[in-house]
């Protein structure tokens, strides 16, 4: 899960917020749009897998200038399952 860092503008969120208001939904605020990336990864164990995913997020999947990331890993039969 990759989300815009606090303080960084989020045009998608702003637009949705306005559109929701136009549709008559009052009292909605703080809309922020991020990305989810789901994938399956083959790794020796969960720790190894977590390490891989963290590295992939840091190197490629998230841009630290504007984004934070968080992920969770869960084992599926084989190969294990990851949701970032």
């Amino acid at each position: 899960m990759i989300r815009p860092r606090p303080g960084i503008l989020n045009p998608e969120g702003q637009t949705i917020e306005r559109a929701l208001r136009d549709l008559g939904y009052a009292g909605i605020e703080g809309v922020r749009v991020g990305r989810t990336i789901g994938l399956r990864i083959e790794a020796a164990d969960l720790t190894n897998c977590e390490q891989l995913v963290r590295e992939a997020c840091e190197r490629l999947l998230a841009n630290p200038v504007i984004e934070d990331f968080e992920f969770h890993v869960s084992e599926v039969s084989n190969p294990p399952l990851v949701a970032g």
Binding site: G7, I8, L9, P11, E12, T15, L60, L61, N63, V65, I66
Partner: protein, 236 residues
């Protein structure tokens, strides 16, 4: 003197850059395939616009890992002139060769039309031939051109005159309406700390001939030639 134009999968202004260099300067550029690791002797490197890797994930995010980017990085570190236009600017930011990031336009829509730009600094290899605060008319064509950075970075850019182009109106004033994408402080282009790496969202390579509406972009390419000539003059 040799212009090198990097071609990523999904680049689509490579042809326009090539045409600009050919027709505007009478030079024949070399095309640098992204899977190569050498710049083939290029003296000036252009990263063209387009949608490298479909702009998937984030514009420029994947292209920065291309083999050619290692060479570009080394070239930039050695002071070589590098220009990123549009997607090329996005790639340079993703590669941390330039500060900040480019996010979706305010209003979320892709926008293509002419804009006015003010040249904020002529002290780069790509703006030397322009006048101080000269007003240019260039086309933009982007969906993710909103320049953002944290406040400290912006202050630093302003303090060191590293904001190179700013969106303005016809009269040369920065206004909300003249800012097409919501960029902080109307920033349209910046340069690196050593000033040799420049990125901008508008397309100078599309403004080479009055036939297509403007020849204001030619100065970017002429500046590069002049900058290189004076470097060589110093060297010899």
């Amino acid at each position: 003197m040799r212009f090198g134009i990097v071609r990523f999968p999904g680049s689509n202004c490579d042809f326009d850059c090539e045409r600009a260099v050919r027709s505007g300067l009478g030079e024949v550029p070399v095309i640098l395939w992204h899977k190569e690791e050498s710049l083939l002797g290029a003296d000036i490197v252009l990263l063209p616009g387009g949608f490298s890797y479909g702009d998937h994930l984030r514009a420029g995010a994947i292209a920065r890992f291309s083999p050619i980017m290692k060479a570009v990085r080394a070239f930039a570190a050695a002071g070589g002139p590098v220009l990123g236009i549009c997607n090329g600017f996005q790639i340079l930011c993703e590669a941390h060769l330039l500060p900040g990031a480019l996010i979706r336009n305010r209003g979320l829509r892709f926008r293509c039309h002419s804009v006015y730009l003010r040249v904020e600094s002529t002290v780069t290899p790509f703006t030397g031939e322009y006048g101080e605060r000269q007003i240019l008319c260039l086309p933009i064509a982007h969906g993710e051109g909103q320049y953002v950075a944290d406040a400290d970075t912006i202050d630093e850019l302003e303090r060191d005159s590293r904001v190179i182009f700013r969106y303005v109106d016809r009269a040369g004033e920065t206004t909300t309406d003249s800012n097409p994408n919501g960029s902080l402080r109307g920033i349209a282009g910046v340069c690196s700390a050593k000033r040799n790496v420049v990125g901008l969202m508008p397309h100078p390579e599309r403004a080479i001939s009055q036939l297509l509406g403007s020849a204001d972009g030619l100065g970017v390419f002429q500046s590069a030639v002049a900058a290189l000539a004076s470097l060589e003059g110093v060297a010899s």
